[in-house]
């Protein structure tokens, strides 16, 4: 049951070589990883962990210090720029000045490696550009200038450019940064679908852990003192890796909900009886107020909620009926 990786590295060291005013700075040593076709891999790590350096090394933009990155079993530094441009498509956070190009002109730049001297597009090129725009649902804006687009649409156009490049591998550096929640979900969904439907290898760095957990096939965790950990998302989640690599003493990963929560100062216990979303949000409310839940139904404080009867609260065997969290707040204080 062995899958052939499309990109792989063994014992790779990354960082910056010795220069005039700096010694060699090694960021990571002995990294090993594989990327597979048809999978979406998310690279997670805190700010300054070296995600961008890893992506640069992986795309051949920056030489490795030791070891090599292999693309289809050949050292990536052995490929010419021309060859790489048809294998590896990039979506970066770099500032561009493409506002004066139309969407289709920008996506057509993805055909650059294939077109002739003056960049004239053939009929086939036009079809590929059209399809790329269609794949990211931006076709209706093809004649709009890029300047007229929202940030999310711009990101889609850059992804379409990478699609038009027809590379088996697409690497994206924080494609969801600066986007609102709807656009973030849309972009991640899109990349997930592209990986599956077009059998592409997609690697992206992101801070959107919750989205990554639901959509990524694999996670790569990167932390300065621990190195790189790779694995299928659920394997990673169920080990304590996410907490170790990304959390700290006050922010911890909750495996139940798949979210990071800040450790509240828990002082009191309460018994809670409720269903579904009522339970979830009541627990949310209580833990914010510094209460942890207990299984002991005879606890000094207890709280029963149901959508029909409302909130009944019991303190020292005295029962009260409340109608809102506003009142619950007052009751807890009193």
């Amino acid at each position: 049951m062995n899958k052939e990786p499309i990109i792989s590295a063994q014992n790779l060291s990354i960082g910056y070589p010795k220069s005039r005013n700096r010694n060699t700075s090694v960021l990571y040593e002995d990294m090993s990883f594989n990327l597979y076709a048809g999978e979406l891999t998310c690279l997670l790590g805190s700010n300054g962990a070296g995600k961008s350096t890893l992506l640069r090394t992986l795309t051949g933009l920056q030489p490795s210090l030791r070891g090599e990155v292999n693309l289809r079993e050949k050292n990536i530094s052995k490929y010419s720029e021309q060859q790489l441009s048809t294998l590896l498509g990039l979506v970066l956070t770099d500032k561009t000045i493409v506002g004066g190009l139309t969407v289709s002109e920008l996506v057509a730049l993805g055909r650059y490696p294939y077109t002739g001297f003056f960049g004239r597009l053939t009929k086939e090129d036009h079809q590929i550009v059209e399809k790329a725009m269609n794949d990211v649902c931006i076709l209706h804006k093809k004649d709009s200038y890029v300047a007229e687009l929202s940030d999310g649409e711009r990101q889609k156009v850059m992804i379409a450019k990478a699609l038009a490049q027809e590379c088996p591998i697409i690497i994206l550096d924080e494609p969801t940064a600066f986007l609102d929640i709807v656009n973030r979900i849309e972009i991640m969904n899109l990349l997930h679908l592209i990986a599956i439907k077009q059998n592409k290898t997609i690697l992206l760095s992101t801070h959107d852990i919750e989205l990554a957990l639901t959509l990524a096939d694999r996670l790569w965790l990167l932390a300065r003192d621990k190195g790189l950990k790779c694995g299928v998302t659920e394997d990673i989640v169920l080990s304590d890796a996410i907490n170790d690599y990304i959390g700290n003493s006050t922010i911890v990963f909750d495996r139940q909900t798949g979210r990071f929560v800040s450790e509240h100062n828990i002082t009191k216990e309460i018994y809670l009886e409720a269903d579904g979303e009522l339970f979830f949000w009541t627990k949310n409310f209580l833990s914010r107020k510094g209460y942890s839940l207990t299984d002991n139904a005879t606890n000094e404080l207890s709280l029963k909620l149901s959508s029909s009867t409302g909130m009944s609260v019991i303190r020292n065997n005295r029962t009260e009926i409340l109608s809102s969290f506003e009142e619950l707040d007052l009751w807890l204080k009193g």
Partner: protein, 345 residues
């Protein structure tokens, strides 16, 4: 889709350029009847020998020079704006013209004359002046490229360019201090900008050199568009950044050097014309931008040259007194409206 616009603009500009070209031949300090001008151009006998001389030896080379120079410096501006990813770059602001001027000043001191003022034509001298201008321009370009790798902020880079320009000017001032007053005067005249510096004999050399620059620019259209995405994106598309950048700057250097050597540092055409082209077309696609820039540059140069001879017998208005009247408002408009102008984003 917007091709219709482009074709219409191009046809309109060509018509305007043809009209302006003949207007440049017709208008001048000596009144020559229109019919006589047509006869002379058609190769017929002129009523007065001096008319033929004026049309063929003075006005025609001047008009042709304006034709090529306008396109050349406008394209140099466009290339620099894309290469530095800075819409306010041009040879003047980045100090490259000043560098070319320094080269010219040194050569003039050594050879003691300005090419245009030379009696008779000596290719070796004019080649030396052009070479001097090119070395000067290339030197400043290298310095600016060096700073561009350190200073990422566009505006700061422009200010460095202006500073480098000042430094160059101070060296030129020193050179002037050691020169004879005649040399200083001829240098000053040169500095005012003038399309009459190219004689009929020098014209082929001039036109061929400018054309080489323009052809090189046309060849670079494909990578120019990719460069709008920034270096890393462009490299990912297979653009050999180092080579393309070198060719771009070489091309801008040749165009700036040769036009500056012969016509002086002509301001604002390189800076403003690419903006006029972008504003008219709404695009930053070099495929349509480049021909528009050439044509508008040519149009502006011919127009400015025409205005410069309007005083008639009272003499010439220096070109650099006219070009800012057209150029500066465009740049101010662009800066004031930059949030609304799409090609800034």
């Amino acid at each position: 889709m917007k091709n219709n616009h482009l074709v219409r603009y191009i046809l309109l500009l060509i018509v305007a350029i043809v009209i302006l070209f003949f207007a440049n031949l017709f208008v001048g300090s000596v009144k020559i009847p229109f019919q006589a001008m047509v006869d002379i151009l058609a190769g017929g006998e002129a009523v007065k020998k001096s008319w033929e001389h004026i049309i063929i030896e003075v006005r025609l080379p001047q008009a042709i020079t304006a034709l090529f120079t306008g396109g050349g410096i406008a394209v140099a501006g466009l290339l620099l704006q894309t290469a530095f990813r800075n819409p306010l770059a041009d040879a003047g602001i980045l100090g490259i013209s000043a560098g070319a001027g320094l080269g010219v000043a040194i050569v003039i001191l050594l050879f003691g004359g300005i090419i245009g003022n030379n009696v008779g034509f000596d290719l070796s001298i004019s080649m030396t002046v052009v070479a001097g201008a090119f070395v000067g321009a290339a030197l400043i370009l290298l310095i600016i490229i060096g700073f561009a790798s350190i200073v990422k902020n566009n505006i700061m880079l422009l200010i460095i360019g202006i500073m480098v320009g000042y430094l160059t000017s101070s060296v030129i001032s020193l050179l002037k201090y050691w020169s004879t007053s005649e040399q200083v005067f001829s240098y000053m005249i040169w500095g005012m900008g003038d399309f009459s510096g190219v004689s009929m004999e020098q014209l082929p050399f001039y036109c061929i050199t400018v054309s080489i620059g323009l052809i090189l620019a046309v060849v670079l259209v494909k990578p120019l568009n990719a460069l709008l995405l920034g270096d890393r994106y462009a490299a990912n598309l297979g653009v050999n950044i180092k080579r393309v950048r070198f060719l771009l700057l070489l091309c801008a250097g040749i165009l700036t050097a040769v036009t500056t050597a012969y016509c002086g540092p002509i301001s604002f055409i390189g800076l403003a014309v690419p903006h006029i082209a972008r504003l008219m077309l709404g695009t930053s696609n070099h495929k349509s931008l480049l021909p528009m820039t050439i044509l508008i540059g040519t149009f502006m140069a011919l127009l400015c040259n025409l205005i410069s001879v309007i005083p008639g017998s009272a003499g010439l208005i220096p070109l650099n007194a006219i070009t800012p009247i057209f150029g500066a408002p465009v740049i101010i408009y662009v800066i004031v409206n930059q949030k609304k102008i799409q090609y800034f984003n």
